[in-house]
Amino acid sequence: MGPKLVHIPTSKAGKRRIRLSLARWKKIELFQVFAMTGLTLLAIFMLLPIVFIMNHAFKPISELFLYPPRFWTNQPTLFNFQQLLLKSQTTVIPFSRYLFNSVLTTLVTVAGTIFVSSMAAYAFAKQRFIGRELFFSFTIVALMFAPETVAIPRYLVIANLGIMDTFLVHVLPLLAAPVGVFLMKQFMEQIPNELIEAAKIDGAKEFVVFFRIALPICMPAVATIGILAFQGSWSQTETSVLFTHTESMKTLPYFTMTLTNGLANNVVGQGVAAAAGLMMFVPNLVVFLLFQRRVLNTMAHSGIK
């Protein structure tokens, strides 16, 4: 029942493909070299800020305000990180508690967002029911509303729900991700109806079709939503500032924010801020690479469309 069955090429087509790719081999090579040179130059330019952030965190005070400013640091030091550690030891709640809160809420949010958005997207893309267009157009219009004025009504709603100061408030509001649903729907639409019908004739229920066929085919989209959900949850301070009162319910970005608040103007503060920024940023990179690998490794399913 898995999608692989559909993809297995006949030996004849396989041979033809080999011959064709041999014929185009030289052309591709030349083009790839050209594309790579251009992209490498651009990539270096795009990566400059990251290089700067990485190096900034390791600069000693004497280099932080150097003229002319430099991207690379001459004498890398862990002084900024020591300062950060020292500062974090003076707080009542241990650093590990914030870290635990952040990791837990982010994991639940990412898993939840993927699950909730792709289920809704599957129904929007592949099922017929009353109100389908209406509900979906609500989702799209919601994307367009400027979030600034919604802050107060949102606060009122959350306060009246009674989920203030719980773990739920870190997760539930983020599960409503119209972008994720929209993105996923665009991918789910491309699954051939024949495939789904064939599975249903074989006796598969909707949930089985969703989990065994729709989700595996849309792995690239799942990974993309995962990346977005992680970024949305990992570095946001809004929940901690507005919707929690207890210090032990707050998350890591809030903690680093309190450390660097009011410090950015003095010389030592710059270093601490850079170290904290780097610490918050690195998980983003790691998660991105992990998920992006998944996008590339699902090439096996590409024969479906």
Binding site: P9, A13, L20, R24, Q32, A35, L42, A43, M46, L47, P49, I50, F52, I53, Y67, P69, F115, V116, M119, A120, A123, Q127, R128, F129, F135, F138, I140, V141, L143, M144, F145, A146, E148, T149, P153, L156, V157, I158, L172, P173, F182, L183, Q186, F187, F210, P220, A221, T224, I227, A274, G277, M280, F288, Q292, V295, L296, T298, S302, G303, K305
Partner: protein
């Protein structure tokens, strides 16, 4: 048969259909519940506020269409700065950022599989690190004294005699905003198009080659774009919505919510100004309703443009 009986029968028919489709409702339920509670209700409340005068402390008082009248007749900064700035910004950054996203996604897809993700992360990081990068990189680059990289560079090659105040001069501010936004425009749409390219059936290209497609431009036009049309539409909508709703960038570059002489003042900045500085929340809500209408109109337009282009 009495009309009551007909009504009853219709109701029953409707209920049976709904019951038959219960699985679909089960599928969308988790999303729709969260969505209604955390997005729809707040938006409806915010829209209602547009007809009130509300300062966040005393009770809102109903004033009807007055807020909208004031926007159209009295708000000079909105009409003379925010609207033209937003359109200039969106018309340049939207299409250009979108084409860049597609082009780069496509170029990355041409590379060998093993090194693709390195380039992906390089192109994507600017939008990932926007907040961090902005404060430590672009502000340093466009710093107004001799320390700024750009001034430093121009001074050393002798183009200017004195350091320019790039971020304080209304003349340059908008252009710098556009450059920085373009640099950070490879976001969700870029990722979606890249992921879409991975799902294109490679046999299509071979079939195309047999049918006489000879160069890459033809390949893009006849095979790639039709094959990833849903992702391209997603990218288009996201870039329309993203550029019209943009606003954080000017505030970050200027270091204050109001840009120099309103040179980079976008509609969103105007809303923030009224919501968080003047605390005229009713007026801010009316402004965001106007913005919603603008974004909605433009995205309908791009829906139409896009589907007609794709169907050729």
């Amino acid at each position: 048969m009495s009309s009551a009986a007909i009504m009853k029968r219709r109701w029953r028919a409707l209920l049976t259909t709904l019951w038959k489709q219960r699985v679909s409702y089960l599928f969308i339920a988790p999303f729709m519940i969260c969505f209604t509670v955390f997005i729809v209700i707040p938006i409806v409340l915010a829209n209602a506020l547009a007809f009130f005068s509300f300062d966040a402390i005393s009770m809102p008082t109903f004033i009807g269409w007055d807020n909208f009248l004031a926007i159209l007749t009295q708000d000079r900064i909105f009409l003379q700065n925010a609207i033209p700035n937003t359109f200039k910004f969106a018309i340049i950054v939207g299409p250009l950022g979108y084409s860049l996203s597609f082009l780069l996604a496509w170029l990355i897809h041409q590379l060998p599989k093993r090194i693709r993700d390195i380039f992906t992360i390089a192109i994507y990081t600017p939008s990932l690190s926007a907040g961090v990068a902005m404060s430590v990189v672009w502000l340093v680059i466009f710093n107004g004294d001799r320390i700024g990289y750009f001034n430093n560079f121009l001074l050393s090659i002798g183009v200017v005699q004195d350091p320019q105040l790039w971020l304080q001069d209304p003349q340059y501010f908008m252009n710098i905003m556009i450059i920085v936004s373009l640099w950070a425009s490879m976001g969700v749409g870029f990722l979606a198009m890249l992921a879409g390219l991975q799902t294109v059936n490679t046999e299509l290209y071979e079939a195309g080659a047999i049918d006489g497609i000879s160069n890459r431009l033809q390949e893009i036009y006849y095979i790639t774009i039709p094959a990833i049309k849903p992702q391209m539409l997603f990218g288009a909508i996201m870039s329309v919505v993203g550029t019209l709703k943009a606003g954080a960038i000017g505030a970050l570059l200027a270091g204050s919510p109001i840009t120099p002489q309103y040179s980079g003042h976008l509609i969103t900045n105007h809303i923030e100004d009224y919501a968080f500085i003047r605390y005229e929340l009713g007026y801010a809500s009316a402004l965001s309703v106007v913005l919603l209408l603008l974004v909605y109109g433009s995205s309908r337009l791009s829906f139409r443009l896009f589907s007609s282009k794709g169907e050729e």
